[in-house]
Symmetry: C2
Subunit: 369 residues, 2 copies
């Protein structure tokens, strides 16, 4: 799949609607907006200027110019706003210029002092919320890798044995960190990047970077949100318990699975995103969990080049065909720990569909590929 | 190593110098500046407000509040600038507020309409350029992992054999992508993140995401810039040739190695960063390569939470004890391909020191741990 560029048509429409002369975005090259607009994955500041029907990029002179249409790439070491103004001047000496709301303040001031009036647009943000077939393919590819990574964790946990009330695997105590590293190695072999987003937590202890030794009976949450080769993200989380005996984690797991199913019923084109989010929370709570203290507030939202983008599941957006959503149900209890299920679904004309068929089993030995 | 927060003292000094009432930064949570200031690694927008001697953070209400000093964390769904103004109001109703130059334009406008005058400061950027002992430890740890990852590539290449003019490893043709995945799996097992920055290129073909089958005699560049668990980056690149026979790659490799040594002579405290950069380029060119067409422009610069930060090696900064620099020498030729060596050095009181002892051999079978 070619990684881009995208968004030019949406920007042209916004320029046309507003009577502006052009559009300017100033981003670090690895910013998702920049990647969307340019197709480049670069660790340098990119100035993107769109005049109707044509794109101009500005890169710093120290950078070896990336492959692409060199005619549209300008090397310029002036401050971003000045470099953008120089491109705009070829189109018009004055007029309105559209920018994202988050354009850096210094660039905005340079554009204003060059004689342009700024007006903010959500055109790029809006365009990013609806994925085309190639973007969807990219996200599905990342979800397949995510499933294999969670699978690696399930295999390790199924293979672990209990010694002195602790889990042992491959002749050594099993910790959250040992699993996290194996999960990330699996992602790497699958050709995707962990994006620093893999977490393995257990019970009420542990976190992103600490190594907590695992014990039987406590829920272990394995969560990944990898980034594929073209920048698109995935998201998948599963909860496992070795030798479950308590009722709490089984009940919490059933609640999370039911909440996950709710999204499949509710996330139709035209549905209110905030309503879908509140239905997910309500279904989780319906199994006897406290909405205030136990059910997670973060039930997800749009996912694409960023792990969190439009539409959020707590806002007032209307879902549309092509929206891709991270759907998360989670319950946290002060002593029992945490249970979570996260998946990615796409909103299609005839309803939502989850992008993986990853099992939801709590028992790692029942995980099937 | 605790991941932070850092920079409060530097900001307090800037507030004091300028007679400002406080400092505001608005960033995505995974932005290096935000990570530096807050110590948090979060995928949500963070509003950071510093009043003299005290830090206040604002996070969106959908986020499960991270661990830390909860007293200083405010949950607020207003636009970032408004949320920041509400914190500032407790200190003073009007006055000057310092911000980074890149504060988002919408946040700046909110602060201005609340009655504050904005003044930009480079205090955080400047503070980040000088690393403390804990930051240096973190970067050294990442460099150890980087060395192991490059080592994995060397072992594969030393183990490969030639069949029909192509390299074969583990019973299948060896490609840039197969090496890249093994390198990234090694980084994962070492507990660091590839940060999407690993590239394996060969000859004049190949690139970040394409799988190019490898052949004997062509230079293969393996480059990593991983991110450690506390966010700090490393950088290491080596060039290998299997069955080298040509003179070009040997001569280019000697030139890059000599340029790498130049940094060890020149990068003293007080040296002009731009001069060090031009000396690296001049030494590379001295072996008969064209400064205009063959010697890379990007000879590196500061490295820390970002792979590219202050001081750049093409600017007019003065090097100081505690600067950590990515040093890169590279030569590209239209038909022979590319040779590169990249390392990280720290500027210490008594001169510069490379953070790894990774071999520079062109022959993978001569790589030693």
């Amino acid at each position: 799949m070619p990684p881009g560029p995208r968004g030019g048509d949406a920007i042209d429409a916004a320029i046309d609607d507003s009577g502006a002369i052009g559009f300017v975005s100033v981003c670090r090259g690895d910013d998702p907006t920049s990647r969307y607009l340019t197709g480049l994955d670069a660790e340098f500041d990119v100035v993107y200027v769109r005049l109707p029907g044509e794109t101009h990029l500005r890169v710093p002179s120290t950078v070896d110019i990336p492959d692409g249409d060199a005619a549209s790439i300008r090397v310029d070491d002036r401050p971003a706003g000045q470099a953008a103004a120089a491109v705009l001047a070829a189109q018009a000496e004055t007029g309105t210029v559209l920018t994202p709301q988050t354009v850096p303040h210094d660039a905005a001031l340079h554009l204003e002092s060059a004689g342009y009036e700024l007006s903010s647009t959500t055109a790029v943000q809006d365009a990013r919320a609806t994925k085309d077939a190639a973007e969807l393919d990219a996200i599905e590819g990342v979800q397949r890798a995510a499933k294999r990574a969670i699978s690696a964790a399930a295999v390790i946990l199924a293979d672990a044995h209990v010694e002195d009330e602790a889990l042992v695997w491959s002749d050594a105590p099993l910790s959250t960190e040992r699993i996290r590293r194996q999960v990330n190695a699996t992602l790497a072999v699958e050709g995707v990047d962990s994006a620093g987003a893999t977490t393995v937590t257990t019970g009420t202890r542990g976190g992103r970077e600490s190594a907590v030794e695992l014990v039987p009976g406590e829920p272990i949450v394995v969560s990944v949100s990898p980034r594929g080769p073209t920048g698109y993200r995935g998201a998948l989380a599963r909860t496992f318990v070795v030798d479950a005996d308590g009722g709490w984690e089984r009940r919490a797991h059933v609640a999370c699975a039911a909440a996950r199913d709710v999204a499949l019923v509710e996330a139709d084109p035209g549905a209110d995103a905030g309503f879908v989010g509140s239905e997910i929370r309500a279904e989780t709570a319906a199994f006897g969990f406290s909405m205030a203290d136990e059910v997670t507030r973060d039930v997800g939202g749009g996912l694409g080049l960023s792990a969190r983008e439009d539409p959020p599941l707590d806002g007032d957006a209307e879902l549309a065909t092509g929206n891709v959503l991270r759907v998360r149900s989670a319950i946290t209890h002060a002593t029992h720990g945490r249970v979570e299920l996260t998946d990615v679904l796409v909103v299609e004309d005839d309803g939502p569909r989850y992008l993986t068929d990853a099992p939801t089993t709590l028992d790692p030995s029942r995980w099937t590929e």
